[in-house]
């Protein structure tokens, strides 16, 4: 693989991996029903890195869960590689990474990475080969035989990413994977994820609270607004495909961060209720 063959914003003519049309989700709780998502249209093409960002209650995690068939839409349709999400799940199209690493304490790191491979019936030597490769990719080769509790939070999350990549899923869904990490670790993880994405070419949908993180990683940032959750604006991130520490200091980067922030603020000002969403916006800015 040559380094200039990178998927980027130019992936516009690749085949669509996610096609959401008129998607809505209503959560019926006791008494009231909550309109979590309304009229969402979104197409994500192969090789894209799309971040979903917005205040709490904007339905960004719900949208990710709908794409991943962890919950079903109330209205509209979602197609994954042209198939219904349930079918895509059966075909093992999804790799998932949550905010918590969700590693099994009774398994070593290598065995945790091999868990999906065991379930999918890969032969033992193939499992070992893949986990060895992936451990190297996420720089955990020295910890293959350790148990999860012996690793730091950042290392655990790297193991979780390796596990999600183990079976070459067509689509990687990440729900605030670095939300629990400190800022330094988070920036390093961003750079690592960037290089993993460039090497594997996997399509990634990424939920985050952090504006800098969204801008640094993505080819497109989907800004969402709350009550009801909907897509407010889609911002194309036209930074060079090769991103590094310098990217974070470039003028274009700051312009884009400002654009995303303003898009968020603009759509939030229509909200009557602030509170938690406001607090999270401030937190997001604090990271800038």
């Amino acid at each position: 693989m040559t380094s200039d063959q990178t998927p980027g914003p130019a992936a516009g003519d690749a085949a669509p991996v996610v096609e959401a049309t008129g998607v809505g989700k209503v959560f019926a709780t006791s008494g009231a029903s909550v309109n979590a998502l309304e009229g969402v249209d979104l197409t994500i093409r192969g090789g894209e890195f799309v971040s979903l960002i917005g205040p709490s209650g904007c339905g960004k995690s719900t949208l990710l869960r709908l794409i991943g068939d962890l919950t079903a839409p109330t209205t509209g349709t979602i197609l994954i590689n042209g198939k219904p999400p349930a079918r895509a799940r059966q075909d093992r199209d999804y790799g998932m990474v949550f905010q918590a690493p969700v590693l099994m304490d009774w398994r070593t790191i290598a065995k945790n990475i091999e868990l999906p491979l065991e379930i999918m019936g890969f032969p033992a030597d193939e499992r070992t080969r893949r986990s060895t490769d992936l451990l190297r990719l996420v720089e955990l080769d020295a910890f293959a035989e350790r148990h999860p509790w012996e690793l730091s939070g950042g290392m655990q999350q790297r193991a979780a990413i390796a596990r999600a990549l183990s079976f070459d899923p067509k689509l990687l869904l990440m729900d605030e994977p670095f939300g629990a990490l400190d800022e330094m670790t988070r920036e390093r993880m961003n750079a690592e994820l960037m290089s993993i994405w460039r090497r594997t070419g996997t399509t990634i949908v990424f939920v985050t609270h952090s504006i800098p993180e969204a801008v640094f990683l993505s080819t497109r940032v989907v800004v969402m607004s709350a009550r009801p959750g909907r897509i407010a604006q889609v911002i194309v991130i036209d930074l060079p495909a090769e991103r590094s520490v310098e990217t974070r200091e470039s003028e274009r980067y700051f312009e884009l961060v400002t654009r995303v922030r303003e898009a968020l603020r603009q759509h939030e000002s229509t909200d009557e209720v602030i509170g938690t969403s406001d607090a999270e916006r401030v937190r997001g800015e604090g990271l800038a």
Binding site: L70, R92, W106
Partner: protein, 258 residues
């Protein structure tokens, strides 16, 4: 390993020895009569002289405890598995299980005697099985169902089958809970067997033996039997702990890391 084990056990052993010495010395100096509390040395003497009878009792009562333990733990595990797997099984089994756990053992013991006869191992095995069944079942259910929701979603994203979820996630998650229940069950089993024997059994069985010896004011020998019953409970408990270390070594390691 053995050196660190020795270090782990040393405080408990020291406390035990100190208590024995204090017991011995204080009774000697205060002149407490042996029918109230015999001195440890007197109990030890009875242990030696009555050993041939006592060992028969230990073997008999031990067989009841272990037999009942195996049956009760097996039933509790199977019912726990069924209950957490099928909602219909939960509705069917849980009320029965709660009912079984609410049976007053003292009222139940004479009935089991009537079923199987006092010389048989079965009356006490039944009592022990009924006693240990419930904690094992409850802990098995809890271990199988108290799983991180995100872990279930993860397995669902791999399109894992129900049986794969059981083997790869619910089962391993339940093991520490199950072993906790097993530890409780071991000490319960000896208590159940001895109490069950109070209502009938062979003359040498520990429960009957203790009743007879206290009836004849031979307290040191009664105490010797109590010491042995106690040792049996501790022994079974230690076997459970050893088994736990063997099957889920990561659990002890994780606890040590905390």
């Amino acid at each position: 390993m053995s050196r660190s084990a020795a270090r782990d056990w040393a405080p408990a052993i020291i406390v035990f020895v100190v208590v024995l010495i204090a017991w011995e010395v204080s009774l000697l100096t205060l002149g407490v009569q042996s029918f109230l509390i015999p001195r440890p040395s007197v109990i030890a003497g009875s242990l030696v002289t009555e050993w041939p009878t006592l060992i028969k009792g230990v073997l008999f009562t031990g067989a009841e405890a272990v037999g009942g333990l195996i049956v009760g733990v097996a039933l509790g595990t199977v019912c726990g598995l069924a209950t957490s797997r099928w909602a219909s099984a939960r509705e069917l089994l849980l009320p029965v299980a709660i009912g079984a756990s609410a049976i007053p053992i003292i009222a139940f013991a004479p009935i089991t005697l009537n079923w199987f006869g006092p010389e048989s191992l079965l009356p006490r095995m039944t009592i022990v099985a009924v006693m240990v069944f419930f904690p094992v079942m409850v802990n098995t259910i809890r271990g199988l169902t108290n799983v991180e929701p995100a872990a279930l979603e993860l397995l669902s994203s791999y399109a894992a089958s129900e049986s794969q979820t059981l083997v790869k996630l619910r089962g391993p998650n339940a093991l520490p809970y199950w072993f906790t229940a097993l530890r409780i069950a071991t000490t319960l089993s000896v208590i159940g067997a001895v109490v069950g024997e109070f209502f009938g059994g062979p003359l040498y069985s520990l429960g009957i033996y203790i009743t007879l010896e206290t009836g004849h004011s031979r307290y040191p020998t009664a105490w010797a039997a109590i010491v042995l019953a106690c040792a049996m409970g501790i022994g079974l408990y230690l076997v459970a702990v050893a088994l736990e270390r063997l099957v889920i070594p990561w659990q002890a390691a994780r606890e040590m890391a905390r």
